[in-house]
């Protein structure tokens, strides 16, 4: 799984996009039992992440995923896509496994989360996705240095099969490609016609990302920018 590695967009847009992940190596008994029960440590990870204004945060609990996503309210639920509140995620008592995620738009929040994780030494493998310089600076200020880095060398092959750049920027925020290009186009179209707000359109896209690593704040900005650009082009052509 490399699902946060190939997010597309300008450096400026990507600068407002960080994902923090916790995970353990399932075969490592030492990591499973390091400094107490795993579930308590993942719960603490979620509490720390939840305290710094995440756009999204996810816990695996009771055989399901508890998903808080900024802007997602219960009226927007559909099928298995059910919203949780931030309090429900960080207060969950039935944590399973070592995986948790949180998404941020702000480097300062990432610095604070990393600083706290370093101090508390939870023994969880922590991965931060984001623009290199931004993450390196966050590391430096938190007193950390990366252990391993995964660099994206981009996409190769039949590039003509890819959608336009704004659609790609939206769709690649779900690394498992659960967001269809048709849906992304439709959301832009509906925002353009005034039928939806950019924020509501971003939530509809984000719901499809079952890992809950979609950044609705960044997506709303991309949608707004694209609607404005298309209106501008339409005006030029008429």
């Amino acid at each position: 799984m490399t699902h946060t590695n190939h997010r597309r967009g300008s450096r400026e847009s990507l600068t407002k996009d960080f994902v923090i992940l916790s995970m353990i190596e399932p075969t490592s008994e030492a990591q499973r039992t390091y400094r107490g029960p795993l579930e308590g440590r993942v719960k603490r990870f979620l509490e720390i992440c939840g305290g710094h204004g995440p756009v999204a945060i996810t816990a695996r609990a009771g055989g399901r995923r508890l998903r808080y996503l900024k802007g997602w309210t219960r009226e927007m639920d559909s099928g298995i896509h059910q919203a949780s509140t931030l309090e429900e995620v960080i207060g969950c008592e039935e944590i399973e496994g070592g995986v948790g995620h949180a998404v941020y738009t702000d480097r300062e929040a990432v610095v604070e989360v990393l600083r706290k994780l370093r101090e508390e030494d939870l023994g969880l493998s922590i991965v931060v996705s984001g623009v290199f310089e931004e993450v390196f600076e966050a590391c430096r200020r938190a007193g950390l240095k990366p252990h391993t880095v995964n660099m994206s060398l981009g996409t190769w092959g039949r590039m003509e099969l890819l959608p336009d750049e704004p659609i790609l920027e939206l769709c690649t925020m779900c690394g498992h490609a659960m967001i269809s290009r048709r849906l992304a186009e439709k959301m832009i179209e509906r925002v353009g016609s005034g039928a939806l707000t950019p924020e509501a359109a971003a939530v509809e896209l984000g719901k499809q990302c079952t890992c809950n690593i979609f950044n609705t704040v960044r997506a709303a900005e991309i949608i707004k920018r694209t609607v404005a650009e298309r209106k501008r082009l339409k005006m030029i052509n008429t």
Partner: protein, 243 residues
Amino acid sequence: MVYVVRELCVACGKCALYCPVEAITVGEYAFVDQERCVECGTCIRAECPVDALRQPDLKPPRLLRKLFSDPLATFRETEVPGRGTEEMKTNDVTNNVKVGEAGWGVEMGRPGVSTKFTDVEKVTMALARQGVEFLDLNPVTMLIDKKTGMFTEKNPWGISPGEIRALRSLSAIIEFKTPKEKVPEIIKTLMEVSKEVETVFSVGLISRWKDGEPELLPLVRGIPGIRVYPNGKHNMGLGRPGS
């Protein structure tokens, strides 16, 4: 395989809108192109307003489409949900990619295009000729002969190479390691094979951190046609045991 109950379908088009691979077309009723469908489950999760979609339990080889495409499906063999291994996310504990080594993730069909497995095999064969070390516990590795990169019937599902070649998935990640000296040669190989496939693939290069930067960054910086994207993933080294 996912199908539409025609008697129930009202041709609203919702399933087609949510399908990531455009496998659903709508006329008098919705129709699922079974060759294009990768069994990712997105249409089912989109919640048909009249409950006209069905996804019965799948058996190999069709099951593999789902295992490779639906992040909520779990490979029994790896116990990892989704499609690959834990890659570099726990490298601070496993030390799988060491200083002096390059870890690679070539994700066929990504982003959102999907891939035929004939294309997956083209790439694994090209890499096998370079003598790469395919990673165990990766679903693609389980389907190939690691020496030749060709599909083999010696796989956990007991399906034939012909059945594997007929598969399509939203993505299939090929994970392998090489010594760092091989990086330019592997990039050249991938560039060549990228001209032969009918899809796209995204390339990730995993490097240890050394002397204030990713150890492999200087090796790729000057290669013509190669761009290192501004964003990536960083393992923070906080996993402790074994680190």
